[in-house]
């Protein structure tokens, strides 16, 4: 344990539609189409605000995965989705993912700033470059551009968007001429109450971390171990410093997959029940995509063969997340499980993102430990099922964190940027 930090942690919720587990929809607490019900979404926002949470986060991609067994691939457009939730809330920050590959920077800049205005300065843009051919084929392209090309475009894209946001405040046209974009013009949207929308970056590829160090103010990281998290925390904060920024200008919030119960046994039972209600093929397909290997060809009761655990053959064409793959393979090498054991183990330890199964008290211990160790500025919590999991965070976890001086009792700031600035400063490293 390093020196104890002052100030409070940041708490976000990664709203994976109904929850991160595929069978979340099966609870009688939900209607068959709750994922498109405005009441469902407004209630999520109000519940988060009851717990003075910092932000709600929404992933996105312009494509549809098979929704046969799972609401997770279903995507309402995030600025519209969070725009409706903003109307039902007043303080919680709202993070919308949008692709720099499949948008026009002028249109997206105007849309994000308009949405930020409507939220009263609570908006953040999570910049992603989007993977996979199905998305490309919705935009007249046979294949997704290579990773380096996507990040090169993303870098210029973000610069154009930020310049356009600035133009709304100055009233002056921008004159941008770069390899990807030629734009002369300005936005006529009212300037942002928080200066400009907060920028998030998600993912752990070298290109993603470099982009984060340059422009991101929030990072949605994937970390399985505390040591790895400390290393990446220092790495990304260091990138920010290399870019002439303060390490405090960038907040790091790893994802944490959650199943909570009033006892550890109850939490495990809940996790098992929701896992068992979902299809096995789904876990195998997820693993295949995550490690870039067809896991259905693996013997379920044998350990992973060595060739699966080797380095990635082509990072440019690999469709998964490099950060996720890295953390998954590190975990497999450490425990050498059979494929079936690994898939079951991820119920408790997470898969790509770290997992946590236990009581709110134990979760508070975990958050406190990682926070004081200088591994995180907060967490992006991912409940197994939101309809009853979010209330446990708000009504049981948050009061424990407050008692320990790790979280505020009331909102003390208005905009998302102010929420971030009010959080604990970066410890010395």
């Amino acid at each position: 344990m390093t020196n104890r930090r002052s100030g409070h942690v940041l708490l976000g919720i990664n709203v994976l539609v109904l929850g991160y587990l595929p069978a979340a929809w099966k609870t009688p607490l939900l209607k068959k189409d709750s994922f498109i019900d405005p009441q469902y979404w407004a209630n999520l926002g109000r519940t988060a605000e009851r717990g003075t949470l910092d932000a709600l986060f929404l992933a996105d991609g312009p494509l549809l995965g098979d929704p046969a067994y799972d609401a997770n691939p279903i995507r309402l457009e995030p600025t519209v989705n969070w725009g409706q939730v903003a109307a039902a809330t007043s303080r919680v920050g709202l993070v919308a993912t949008a692709s720099s590959t499949f948008n026009d920077p002028f249109e997206l800049a105007e849309r994000l700033l308009s949405w930020d205005h409507q939220t009263g300065g609570r908006a953040a843009w999570n910049v992603v470059t989007t993977r996979g051919a199905p998305a490309a084929r919705n935009f007249g392209m046979p294949e997704i551009p290579f990773r380096d090309d996507r990040y090169e475009r993303a870098t210029e894209f973000v610069d154009v968007v930020r310049a356009l946001w600035e133009s709304a405040a100055t009233g002056r046209d921008i004159h941008h001429h770069g390899p990807f974009f030629d734009i002369e013009g300005r936005l006529r949207v009212p300037p942002s109450k928080q200066g400009r929308p907060v920028i998030f970056q998600a993912g752990g590829s070298p290109q993603g971390r470099a982009l984060a160090g340059r422009v991101a103010e929030g990072v949605f990281a994937a970390e399985l171990t505390k040591d790895q998290a400390i290393e990446h925390y220092r790495l990304v904060k260091g990138f920010a410093r290399d870019n002439g920024r303060s390490p405090d200008d960038i907040k790091i919030l790893p994802g944490l997959l959650l199943s909570l119960g009033s006892t550890e046994e109850e939490a495990r039972r809940r996790s098992d029940e929701i896992h068992d209600a979902g299809p096995a093929a789904y876990s195998i397909a997820w693993l295949s995509q995550a490690i870039g290997y067809d896991a259905s060809r693996l013997e379920l009761d044998e350990p992973f063969p060595e060739d699966v655990l080797g380095p990635i053959k082509d990072t440019q064409t690999f469709l998964g997340s490099i950060g996720f793959r890295e953390s998954i393979l590190a975990q497999i090498r450490r425990t050498n499980p059979t494929v079936r054991e690994y898939l079951k183990q991820t119920r408790y330890t997470g898969s790509g993102h770290a997992g946590f199964v236990g009581t709110p008290e134990q979760l508070a211990d975990h958050i406190e430990d990682w926070f004081h160790a200088g591994a995180v500025d907060g967490f992006n919590l991912q409940p197994d099922r939101l309809i009853d999991g979010l209330a446990v965070i708000v009504d049981e976890l948050v009061p424990i964190l407050r008692k320990r001086g790790l979280y505020r009792h009331e909102y003390e700031t208005e905009t998302l940027r102010e929420h971030f600035q009010a959080a604990s400063p970066t410890p010395a490293f």
Partner: protein, 307 residues
């Protein structure tokens, strides 16, 4: 002679004013007009006003803060792609319980054009782009309609016994190949109230929608159509029309527009009862489903087994 319905046309500054004022929102919500166009100045050939907001962002606010008012968002393919437009249109329809629709425009007054010859979507820096003309806007509207139909709402079954949430084999690719090439399907189901109403703006008879197979345009606004625009301060048209869009100028406030609308409603315009979907309010039938030959996007789901 059937009394015409009344609709409202709001320009950029009105969007800022309306959504910042709870009292105005409440008045707007209770007015028995057919619909409001959010940012009509974006697509009607006007010069850009000093202030505006993206129409879908305003629609999202209205979806969350009001219960009855119906609206058309405005969008064009100038710097926007039909897949992205369709996502916002369908999402708004869900979150507003069908009170929303789309007015597709050819040009966006607030946005710079893309490169010559590909001024529509060509500025996005991806391969492609199309001429900035009526055919491109029309093809964008066709894509939006097909995408909204690509995932039938009633395929959501939520069968807890079989573990099947969606009969996803009924979701289809749209395989559009016109000015845009789009495989689909959309990642949002069809709205429960049916695919969104799509409108067109024509200032003159020459700039009507091109019309073709699978025509998605169900409503034409403007001088050349059955629902003309009348500037606030002018008299209603003497000839018979299905409806009138009362359009506020930049010199008018939203309060001025609502005052005038109340006077017109008290003086011969047909009130359209508040609430319900835009499609029902305009008495428009549901669009035909996509042809049964459309390519299934996913295999037939099977009852699943646990690990």
């Amino acid at each position: 002679m059937t009394a015409p319905y009344l609709a409202l046309g709001l320009a950029g500054p009105h969007l800022v004013e309306l959504t910042a004022n709870r009292a105005l929102l409440s008045r707007w919500d209770e007015l028995p007009v057919a619909f409001s166009v959010l940012g009509i100045d974006r697509v009607d050939g006007s010069e850009p006003a000093p202030l505006t907001l993206t129409s879908s962002a305003v629609g999202a606010t209205l979806a969350g803060t009001t219960k009855y008012g119906r609206f058309l968002i405005t969008a064009t393919p100038q710097r926007d792609h039909p897949y992205n437009i369709a996502r916002r249109v369908a999402s708004l329809a869900h979150l507003s319980n069908g009170r929303s629709g789309l007015l597709i425009g050819v040009r966006d007054a607030y946005a710079p054009e893309g490169p010559e010859g590909a001024a529509a979507w060509g500025g996005a820096g991806l391969a492609g782009g199309a001429p900035l003309d009526a055919q491109t806007a029309y093809d964008a509207a066709r894509a939006v309609r097909a995408l909204e139909l690509s995932w039938p709402y009633d395929s959501i079954i939520g069968n807890r016994d079989t573990g099947i949430l969606v009969e996803s084999n009924r979701i289809v690719h749209v395989d559009i190949d016109n000015r845009f090439s789009i495989a689909g399907p959309l990642n949002t189901p069809e709205p429960a109230t049916g695919a969104s109403v799509i409108a067109w703006y024509s200032a003159t008879a020459q700039d009507g929608p091109p019309r073709g197979a699978d025509d998605p345009i169900e409503l034409v606004l403007g001088a050349a159509g059955p629902v003309p625009l009348v500037a606030l301060g002018k008299e209603p048209p003497a000839s018979e029309t299905a409806g009138v869009v009362l359009r506020a100028g930049l010199e008018h406030s939203v309060g001025d527009l609502l005052d005038a609308a109340e006077r017109w409603l008290a003086n011969g315009f047909a009130p359209i009862s508040a609430g319900g979907s835009l499609r029902a309010a305009l008495n428009l039938s549901a669009p035909a489903p996509l042809p049964p030959t459309a390519r299934a996007a996913f295999p037939v789901p099977q009852p699943h087994v646990s690990l």
